[in-house]
């Protein structure tokens, strides 16, 4: 997090752009490295913070005194204020000059419960509630949520969490909306669609952290061993776990890139993940783009083979996430903070490949995934049989990274629009920032001693095509096959 962004966002004269003026004294752009690397001053400051030393005001970097707490407040405020003005500095300054910074701050505070959200990510304060119910769908994507239970990550933060197995995403959504679950494992597009009120009743949901990246695959029935080119899939029936899922969007993206229209040339059916193998065996579907362990399970049972990993469509794509309603986080800020921290720790622990075999053992029993341990282990360690006679080795088959990049949300929103799941216009960045708590996640990661990215937006490359987050509409227009 470059400290440039820590100027007062309600000050019309302050500049929030990261690299606009460089304190190293260079003039031209590109001549200074401080644009893309975190400042050494800040790193030092964060180091001191981790050891609970008082932080000296770093007047050189930010131009004003900022205490430890104030720095967090400022980061959050700044992200929101910048988001409100669509990252347009000129608009922001003009508006603040006209209205006055204090008025804006007060008005903003009345709409957004800033104080509570900020309090939530700071340590301390008694837990409002220690007995929690957190839902999960039994797939390896939920690894951090599940393993935090047997491996004691919740307990470490004073929480007594019941992780409840859920039959599918629609049920997870409804249980979460009804308040039966305090928080739930969800697919990363779900909090966005719920906040938009598309395919759900409208309710502001937040997604503090991603659970897993990669970790999905396309499995085809054994009878299709000779149809490895997506162009041959015309007339196929595919299953995906939910409409608002990365699975649906990635499958649509893939076939569309190969010239097939996902709504006309193939049929896509929603099947809850646990029922996919049985459907593949019955040949109700020709294949599926699904979460593991159900790809590996189809191989294990000799029904299908792994055609490709989603990692090869978009390396590092988000999949599942931990989500709860903004109202719940607002009412239970300290509990939310404790849950947030336990899940970040669990996710970071899962990301270490050396811990995967141990995790596989912890989450395979009947109470959790209810799968043969070897199947779960093959998924998590990435050394697996592909069903075609080969042993593959890909340690990044599934990976775990909590950071919810805002631009991931932007990409998801472009695809929701592309396939007609939402037909109205919205502000991409604002929505992304309302739902994906990237800045807060960075704070918690830093606090727990992990390395957090300094930006919350970056470009991605999906099947060789670059997604430019600054121009979502242009990206959308660049596709030939689309509904909108």
């Amino acid at each position: 997090m470059p400290t440039k962004s820590l100027h007062d966002p309600f000050d019309a004269n302050a500049d929030l752009r990261h690299g606009s003026s460089c304190r190293h004294g260079h003039t031209g752009p590109g001549s200074c490295s401080c644009f893309d690397t975190a400042s050494p001053d800040l790193e030092e400051k964060l180091e001191r913070r981790a050891t609970h030393e008082p932080v000296q005001a770093d007047a050189h970097a930010t131009g004003e005194d900022l205490s430890d707490e104030a720095m967090v407040d400022r980061a959050v405020e700044s992200a929101i204020v910048r988001g409100m003005f669509g990252h347009n500095e000129i608009n922001r300054r003009r508006f603040l000059q006209m209205i006055g910074g204090g008025t804006v701050a007060a008005a903003l505070g009345s709409i957004l419960p800033l104080d509570k959200v900020k309090a939530a990510i700071k340590d301390g304060g008694p837990l409002e509630k220690t007995k929690l119910r957190v839902g999960f769908v039994p797939i390896t994507c939920a690894t951090p949520i599940i393993m935090a239970h047997p491996m004691g990550f919740y307990e470490r933060h004073g929480l007594d969490v019941d992780v409840i197995k859920t039959a599918g995403w629609a049920v997870a959504r409804d249980m979460s909306l009804s308040g039966e679950y305090d928080a739930s494992h969800m697919l990363s597009p779900m909090p966005l669609s719920m906040t938009l009120g598309s395919g759900s009743s409208r309710e502001h949901y937040i997604m503090p952290a991603v659970e897993n990246i990669n970790g999905q695959a396309i499995t085809l029935h054994n009878k299709h061993k000779d149809k490895r080119d997506p162009k041959d899939w015309k007339g196929f029936t595919f299953a995906v776990p939910f409409e608002y899922s990365m699975h649906n969007f990635l499958l649509r993206y893939l076939v569309a890139e190969h010239g097939l229209d996902p709504d006309r040339d193939i049929s896509i059916r929603v099947v809850p993940p646990p029922e996919m193998v049985a459907n593949l065996r019955a040949e109700n579907v020709d294949g599926y783009l699904a979460p593991d362990p159900f790809n590996q399970r189809a191989v294990w049972d000799g029904i299908g083979f792994i055609h490709m990993l989603t990692k090869d469509i978009w390396d590092g794509h988000p999949c599942c996430a931990f989500a709860c309603s903004a109202a719940w986080a607002d009412e239970h800020p300290n509990t939310f903070g404790a849950l947030f921290r336990s899940l970040i720790e669990a996710t970071q622990y899962s990301s270490d490949i050396n811990n995967r075999a141990e995790i596989a053992e912890a989450i395979s029993p009947r109470a959790y995934l209810n799968q043969p341990q070897s199947v779960v282990e093959q998924v998590l360690t990435g050394r697996y049989a592909d069903g075609l006679g080969n042993v593959q080795n890909d340690p990044h088959r599934i990976d775990f990274d909590p950071f919810p990049w805002h631009s991931m949300a932007t990409w998801i929103l472009t695809q929701m629009k592309r396939w007609g799941y939402v037909d109205r216009d919205f502000d991409y960045n604002r929505l992304a920032e309302d739902v994906f708590l990237a800045s807060e996640c960075a704070e918690v990661m830093t606090e727990l001693g992990y390395e957090a990215p300094s930006d919350t937006y970056k470009n991605f490359e999906i099947m060789g095509k670059v997604f430019d987050y600054t121009d979502p509409e242009g990206y959308l227009d660049s596709f030939a096959i689309r509904r909108s």
Binding site: D162, K165, A167, G179, V299, A367, L369, N370
Partner: protein
């Protein structure tokens, strides 16, 4: 003669069972594997080569189901957290939901059926609604129930309630409406009040029909609870089947199917027993 018939029927039942189990066992006998030449390759191991697979067809043999049933039934009430409970606890949850939903339905259906049966006007007025609501699959109510009630357990009970109300309502109304006019006339000549007529003449006369309705209802309720629990998950015998389906563990699924049959039979038998008490001869 009768005992002789019973005896022969029992023998025939047993023969059918043995033949069925024998055919099942033969059809699913585990393949005799050729002795492995040396170590399994890594690929074979990853494909589950070294582990005990149920059988070539994937359907477990009856011996496997029995040994599984034995291990489940030897410890039916263990509780290892919210997602892993013994079969006894799962069945108890399902029975509790069925009985509660059924009792609520009876509380409403029987008095309402009485009123409808006694009044030809109400009978005609209610008829179109009953005819339209009756054929709706109870599971079709589930999404609406989850959304409105906002509690999965209550939604499952509501689904039981809505599916068991119609047979009881229709049967009660029919039973009450078809009480013989002679008897009502006798009550009139004795100048019994309406309420007294209802309780001393109509109720005993209609009781067998009402109980038949209750028997149909509990049968349907038990059919529906399995599907409802598979949908919402959490607890119950339906969830148990769903959870084992995840793991394609068919021995557990078959075991659960047998348990569902036994419990359904017991529920039905208890109401059949109750019918005996209210039976009368003209």
């Amino acid at each position: 003669m009768l005992s002789n018939l019973n005896f022969r029927a029992t023998v025939l039942s047993l023969v059918m069972l043995v033949v069925f189990l024998g055919v099942w066992q033969l059809a699913t006998a585990p393949e005799v594997l050729a002795p492995q030449q040396g170590e399994l390759s890594e690929y074979e191991q990853l494909m589950g080569g070294g582990t005990d697979r149920s059988s070539s067809s994937g359907i477990p043999a009856p011996t496997q189901v029995f040994s599984h049933a034995f291990s489940e039934l030897s410890n039916p009430f263990y509780d290892a957290g919210p997602n892993d409970k013994g079969i006894g606890i799962q069945l108890a949850y399902s029975i509790y939901r069925v009985l509660l939903g059924f009792a609520l339905a009876a509380l409403i259906a029987i008095p309402l059926g009485f009123v409808i049966g006694m009044s030809p006007l109400l009978n005609k007025a209610f008829d179109p609604y009953i005819q339209i609501l009756k054929p709706i699959s109870p599971l079709a109510w589930m999404p609406l129930a989850l959304f409105v009630i906002r509690d999965s357990n209550m939604s499952a009970i509501f689904v039981i309630f809505i599916c068991s109300i119609w047979p009881m309502l229709v049967n009660t109304a029919y039973g009450v409406a078809s009480v013989r006019n002679d008897w009502l006339n006798v009550a009139k000549t004795h100048q019994l009040s309406n309420l007294r007529t209802a309780f001393t003449v109509i109720l005993p006369a209609a009781a067998p029909t009402i109980l038949t309705g209750m028997r149909i209802s509990i049968g349907i309720a038990w059919l529906v609870i399995v599907a409802a629990e598979m949908l919402v998950g959490g607890t119950g015998i339906g969830y148990y089947i769903w959870n084992e389906w995840n793991n394609l563990d068919l021995a557990s699924v078959i075991f659960a199917i047998i348990m569902i049959g036994i419990v359904g039979f017991l529920l039905d038998a208890s109401l059949a027993q109750a019918t005996k008490f209210v039976r009368y001869a003209d």
